[in-house]
Every structure is written in structure tokens, then in C-alpha cells.
Symmetry: C2
Subunit: 346 residues, 2 copies
Amino acid sequence: MTAIAVIPGDGIGTEVIAQARKVLDVALPGYTATEYDLGARRYNDTGEVLPESVMNELDGHDAILLGAIGDPSVPPGVLERGLLLKLRFDFDQYVNLRPSRLWPGTTSPLADVKPGEIDMVVVREGTEGLYAGAGGVLHAGSSAEIATEGSLNTRYGTERVIRDAFERARRRDRKHVTCVHKSNVLAFAGGLWKRTFDEVAAEYPDVATDYQHVDAAAMFLVTRPQSFDVIVTDNLFGDILTDIAAAVTGGIGLAASGCVNPGRSHPSMFEPVHGSAPDIAGKGVADPIAAIMSAGLLLDHLGHGEAATAVTDAVAAELAERTSGEPIRTDEVGDRVAARVAGLLG
Amino acid sequence: MTAIAVIPGDGIGTEVIAQARKVLDVALPGYTATEYDLGARRYNDTGEVLPESVMNELDGHDAILLGAIGDPSVPPGVLERGLLLKLRFDFDQYVNLRPSRLWPGTTSPLADVKPGEIDMVVVREGTEGLYAGAGGVLHAGSSAEIATEGSLNTRYGTERVIRDAFERARRRDRKHVTCVHKSNVLAFAGGLWKRTFDEVAAEYPDVATDYQHVDAAAMFLVTRPQSFDVIVTDNLFGDILTDIAAAVTGGIGLAASGCVNPGRSHPSMFEPVHGSAPDIAGKGVADPIAAIMSAGLLLDHLGHGEAATAVTDAVAAELAERTSGEPIRTDEVGDRVAARVAGLLG
Ligand SMILES: CC(C)[C@H](C(=O)O)[C@@H](O)C(=O)O
Ligand SMILES: CC(C)[C@H](C(=O)O)[C@@H](O)C(=O)O
């Protein structure tokens, strides 16, 4: 019996997760879902972000499905560091997986890109780099203030995520991995990344490779996104590049992600890339596709390949029938995709 | 008499700088230019990157005009750190100025953006952050390897560049400054940036402000670049965002930049954002517009406002007559723009 911990979260998080659960209901019969009330509401009510007891409970699940957390009422960083990043780090979710495809029926802001032409996945490192929180401030608020941030990178952490990217590339048509860093300036971390990349690449002679500096990669994601297959990169660069990748493939409303612990020593977490969007919350107009696709990544991670493919196909069919400009009804999208998944799985 | 140090550099650097000099010849009569042979060629011939004696000579000039440096034959980082970043840091060029406009006659890869609609300037911090080189490696090449990079940020350095951005915004039509950082994760440096930004903003009640995380800003540069006026940001974020800004405004071939020391305690440096492009070097097909516009920024910095405006107008006229797809002749573009500038000033 598969046990899923569900964190609907704040704002549109609860709305889109309800749709993802409709899809899981048909794609993963018999799973159990336990809801956890975490996020801005709980923090504002109780001051609690993520109690240790909840951490332990979450750890007992096979996977976590998260909607979105955050609200302007909470000081920036509190929920990000205390909840999202704590889960990614403590559950060793070192593969932050972010696929981007330009689906038929969706429009890219780019003039010369046609649906079907963009199909990439960013394998973003999830447990190292500048996200380590290894910084400090002295003399805060005075003219003598200094603030530091440390990017911490290990061979261990770099190698395992690069290896994961090569494994994924091997299973894809184009079999190409682009390593992105900024080795001409960040010589220490960039050197580690490039050397490790080259060493791992030698074990995958069937996979083609290249290296790009992050500024060039950001530009190429706009000028020729079609050229990318798998990108492997550092935590912060991955954060930035995946938002560009989302932007050129129809926006953050369609962008799914998985914070994956490949060895399953702790649960992996699946979440749409978008935030809680308080401005449109409660109106039933949020696009649940990103959450549904995140549930698809969850299914794939847990070994339900057929169900995962059905979710992808159902989403593709849903998007293909969209008329641009037509308003989205969160509920109806969830109903339609779930019905299609049911049909596909027979 | 204005004394300009010219570093043509490598690859297309020499070709585009020749055009920028044609323009300076008519826009800044009587200036002296001293050429410095620096870059990959010199490094490969002599092992020298930037001798102290040359540093001292450069320091005696009013400004530096640089083409592009770099070649695949030189190990990555050597010229970047030893020349480009050394000049930016040692000459305290703390305002890395990068304007982006979508000129009539040029095409954006974005479908819904029309010429004239994008007009922004990124004020990128140039002397701090992760560019400090404050990192290290232990156990290199072993499975125990770690690599660190330190982002060093001071109130002093943050405040002066933010103040510069507000001064520039005040002189522009929309009078808007967007501060970009990643304060939800980089709480220490981001906190310093945000607090300093808010404090400086209070002194400029006529300038509107907002704050965006770098991932959101990267996305908005693709989905609504029209919304930006002045962006002020950290060194690394500025590096990435300006390549996106260049991409959406017709490419890096048009992107000019100035590494400015506003107090003029040392010379400022003006350079196209593009690199040495060895693949097209020597063919006379590189677009010299970025170099010419960089010379325009140089003129503006040295107080020749009328000449700077003439360069901008001449470039705008040149671009307006371009037929997309028609090959560029580096020489001819330089001749035409110089003739226009002469006409405008004459
Ligand atoms: C909310 C924030 C901490 C997070 C990140 O920076 O990783 C988000 O931007 C993301 O991409 O998932
Ligand atoms: C070449 C490199 C050191 C440089 C930078 O990172 O600043 C370049 O990308 C730029 O934007 O001028």
C-alpha cells in the first residue's frame, strides 16, 4: 500500500492539489493520503513551521505531494528555509527534477518555436551550493555591515547528481547532457563541477555532452531552447534556469517538479514550481496542470511507469484542446484529466 | 586632451574596436588613443596577462575601451580573472552598466514585443559578491573533495551601487527601480541588499520601486520585459540577467556595457558584452554596434552628452535601415555610423 503525505499548503496550493489527488485516485488505486496542515496558515496560527514530530511522520511515507506554501503575511525566508528547503535537505532530495516541454496547444512567448520542439529536463542539484545557508552578517544596519553567503560543494554531492543526469539522458532520445556552471569566475566550485562532469561523462560514451556558462545558458534558453536535452547544474543556477525554461514553454502554471531522493532513503517530494499566488487564490481559476504533472513524476518515481505515462498523455490531450485566452476552471481541468487517465488505464 | 586606452583584444575584438574608433574619431576630436596588446595572443606569446607596469599606464588614462578577450587556447579563468575582473576590481568599477533597448529595425525572439517597447538598464554591482574569488578547494580530485565560493557583500558596496541606480532612474522617464536578489534563500546577503535598497529608496520619493527574486526576474525578462526600467542587482545575478536582457532585445551583438567608476578615481572601462567569437573572427562579419554603443557610453561618462546622443541616434538610424537576414559587413557599418555621427554633430 502506497502512503502519500499531502501538503496542500497555502493559496492556490489547496486548489491544485485537490485536482492532483483526483488523478492519483484513478492512477494509483488504493493509495492512502494523509494531509498535513503546514504553511503560512499554520505558522500564523501557531508559530510552528515544521515540528520535528511532523518531520518524523512525513519520513514514514513513500512520497510527499506539496501544493505551494507562502503568503505575504509571513516574513520572507521563514517557510522557504524552515519547510521547503528543510525537507529537500533533511530528506536528501538531491535531484531537483524539472522537465519542460512545449506541448501542442500551448503557446511559447518565443516567435520561432513550435509546439513539440522544446523537450528538456533540468537536473538541478538540491542539497548543496549557496542553499547551504552558510553565511552571516556582521554589524547589521550600520555602515560597517558585511554579509556573506557560502557556496559549499562536495565531490560526493556533485558526482551523484551528475550521474543521475547521465542515467536520465541515456533513457532519452537525444542522449545529451549540458553541464552549466560559471567556471570562468567561480573557479573553485566550477572546477569541481567540470572535472566531475568530465569524469562521469567518460563512463557514458553513448551520451553526448557540452558545457556552458550560466549566462550563456540563460541566453540560449531564450534564443534556442530546442537545443537542450538534459541540463545538469548547481542549486542556484538551476533555480534561475528552470524559471526561464518554464517561461519559454508556456509559463510557470505548467511547470512540474520533483525533489527526488533516488535511493529512497527518505521520501521524495513533488510540487509545482509555481507559488501560492494569493492574488488568484480561492477563485477556482488556477491551472492545476503543474500539480497534476508533479503527481505524474511521483508515480514515475514510485515505479508506476504506466500510470505516469497515462498522466502525461492525458495532460497532453487536455492541453491540445485548450483555446488560448479561454479562462481555466481548476475543477473542470482536474475532472477532465482524471477521466482521461481512467480511460487510458482502462 | 582626452586620453583613451584601447584594448582591442582577441578575435572579433580588434575588428569591432576599429569601428568604435572611427566613431570616436568624429565624436571626440583630438583625443589620443594608446593601444595595449593584451589578451590571449599576448598570454600565449609571453605568459603575461596584465603586467603591473601596464596597469599603471592604464590608470593614467581617462577611460578604457575594450573589444573582447579570450580564446579556447587559454585555460578558462586566466584572462577573465587576471584581466577583465582585475580591471573591474582594481579600478573600482562598481557600476556595471548594461542598457537594453529593442531598437526599431531589430527583432526580438519574443512574439509579442514590438520595437520601442523594451528600454531598460541593468545596474549590476561590479566589485563584490561571488566575484570576490573568496573560495577554495580541499582534496582536489579525490572523493573527499570540497569546493567553496564566498559571496562577500558590504553595506558600503551595496549602498553606492543602489544609489547610482536611483540617480539614473531619476533621469529617466519612468523613474522606476527594481531590486533583484534572492532574499528568501540568501537571507544574509539578500537582507543587506533589501534593507539598503529600502533605506536609499526613502531618499528618492520621486522614484517608484519594487523587489523581485532573481528567478522571478529572469522569468519576467522573458514574459514582460517591457515592465522593467532600471534593475539594480548583485554581480552574479547581473551577469545572468543582462544576457537574458540582451537575448530579448536582438542579441548580444547589440549589447553595450560600461564598467564605471563614477567618482573617476580610476578609469572606467567600456566593452561590448559579447566575447571574442573565434568562430567568426577575421571574416569582417561581426556586428560592431555593441562596441560602438560602448564608445557612446564612454562619451557619456566623460561628460560629452551631445556626442553620446549623436552616437545613439546614429546607431538607431543604422538599425532602422537593417533588413533582417542581410549579412553584416563590420567595416561598412562602422563607416556608415561614423558618417552619421559626423553629420549629426557637424
Ligand atoms: C521558494 C524558493 C525557496 C524555491 C527555491 O529557490 O528553490 C523556489 O524558487 C523553487 O524554485 O522551488
Ligand atoms: C567573461 C566573464 C568574466 C564576464 C562576467 O562574468 O562578468 C562576462 O560574462 C560579462 O558579463 O562581462
